[in-house]
Amino acid sequence: MEIILDIIMIPAVLACIKIAVIILLFAMPLGTVLTLMERKWSSMIQDRVGPNRANIGAFTGHGALHLAADGLKSIFKEDTIPKGANGFLYLIAPFFGLIAAVATFAIIPIAGPIGDFTFQVTDINPGLLFIFAITSLNVYGAVLAGTSSNSKFALLGGTRASAQMISYEVFMGLALMGIFMVYGSTRVSSIVDGQNEYWFGNLIPMWGIFTQPLGFILFFTALVAETKRAPFDAPEGESEIVAGYFLEYSGMRWSAFMLAEYVSLVGVAALMTTLFFGGYHVPWLHLWESAPQWLVTVLQIIKFSFVTLIFCWFQIQLRWTVPKFRFDQTMGLGWKKLLPLSLVNIIVTAFVILTLA
């Protein structure tokens, strides 16, 4: 028994277990359920019923079985490769996006540490810089898919995706500078702990959204654009370039693109929670000093998941409410509005910090 415990506590083994738990029990299921949630929620907005037909006997589960049905369908579909496509690149392209989406969860803590044990795969020093590095991997997925498909529509989509994602990475980094300056670190655990401080005695928690309101809006916009979801889905451009860079894909490879989109949707929500809504910290919980440790951890996980879900919902609501930008408008918004605003945000933050210090 003790041997097993010892093996588990080897850092590498522990990290693997955490990766498995966080990805297989949190990110992937949530991403999958979100596909159904999005369809159901959009149908509520639009006075429709939504998916409700897949069934086992009389059981339909309000459309829940569509998840299984869709998965099965994708597996059994033919994995087509278009004529003239670059086979190897075409085959690996879908997984860049998925890997990048999943890797985001590596540094996100979903509850406070208990002793040496952290609810986080790894708390590396570069922290968020790691996120930036990983999301830039995402571009390769779109570009490779676009160029290797041997389709003009896919090529247009790939070009759009690369331009958009590379641009928005710039604002993403700049928008977060304020957070780094306020909490004095790029390490996620320090940022999260920094948000557990309070203003005016115990009145207002120092959450990122209160210390960096403009940074919050900018970063959220940049992240939504980075995940290529509406209203920034010009790279997909379903009405003019049909499906953009993943036009030619079918079966599981197409599903990989879809899954990547939804997992990164959860990733965006988790990141927003961590950086701007106090992470796992339940506000004012420290006032209850005799709280048992297990209860605190449970409450933290609940709080983290709840805020994450709210952000997921918000992105879905956004997609079904507003029309989408044209590609040049997306770029214009980025370079002409977000860039100056994030620079202003950095200067103002620096000024405020210097004055207060």
Partner: protein, 408 residues
Amino acid sequence: MTDMSALQSRMDTNASGEDFSASVMSIEIGPAHPAMHGIVRLTTQLDGELIVGMEPEIGYLHRGFEKESENSKWIQVIPYTDRLNYVSPLLCNIGYSMAVEKLYGIEAPRRAEFTRVIMGEISRITDHLTCLGAAAMEVGAFTFFLWFIKAREYLWELVEEMTGARLTTNWTRFGGNSMDLPEGFLSDLADRISKLEEIMEECDKLLTRNKIFIDRVKDVGGISKEDALSFGFTGPMLRACGIPYDVRRADSYSVYDELDFEIPVGSTGDCFDRFLVRMEEIRQSASIIKQAADKMPEGPFMTDERMLQYPDKKDVYGNIEGLIDHFKLVMEGHQPPAGEIYMPTEGGNGEIGFYLVSDGSGDPVRVRMRPPCFNYVEAMPLMTVGHYVADIVPIFGSINMIGGELDR
């Protein structure tokens, strides 16, 4: 040749002296493409995202309507006209029947005319709802589309109540309609129109002042008054350019001169103006429907002239005139006097004209339909060149191309 020189100058300004020949990519949009509702192919030349050339190719939905009509009796053409414009079939029914009535030199009874006005305006609204909804959906406002489809569903239930069918209406006859107003129709109508107005208000709030939407459609696909006239634009597309031409007023057919309505006009003729003009026309049509319902006269819904109306069964079996009329109508068909006429009516999308030639026999010599969207598709290169590839979507959505009437 003015249009071609305008096109050329526009291409030149965009080229700004550079030679595009090396970097131009030719891309086939359609015939099977989500934005090409109906089937049409746009062979587009792109420089990056910029459109530098376009050539529309039509004919993928050609069913030979005109030739088929020549091999039918006059009355047998009415069901074919259902299939011309599949978002407002009643307007084509009405247009064709009025053309034949003009050939006969008769008029339908007043009750029939008022009913036609009501049903025609309902169809105009369904036409506009489909066009606006689809155009908005393609710039990403999917919710707006489904709300409009919901409104359209209310109206199509009315059409079903009246004609027994949603699309294949086959409703008008020469000298009246096949059916009178069903019981309780007018109260249903008032109820549905108020529901429509609610949805219109909701959608107005959702989209009309939405910054992203305005950015997508404003100054996109504009066309000047002169170009619009030289291409033969009619209907909302022409009115969006600022020319208040509406066949309902200009030609004042049917009982439109007794009804009070305004003709909305735009100024720049871009996609946003077309959107606003169509939105306003829906409201005007709703007001026309209300007025026509209030003024609905009593009386017959079908003319009682011989050789137009099939005689009652008791006459067919009871007296010789009825029997002979019935025999001749069935065997030889309606026989309008020899001659040729052109009858324009205001369709949902512009002027629907029927050009008919009769030699006095039961078979039409020529049935020619003027589809409004033919001219719009022809002007697609002028409207799109110089815009981005994503702009094809709102522009093509705003011209409301209906494959059925375009290719016939």
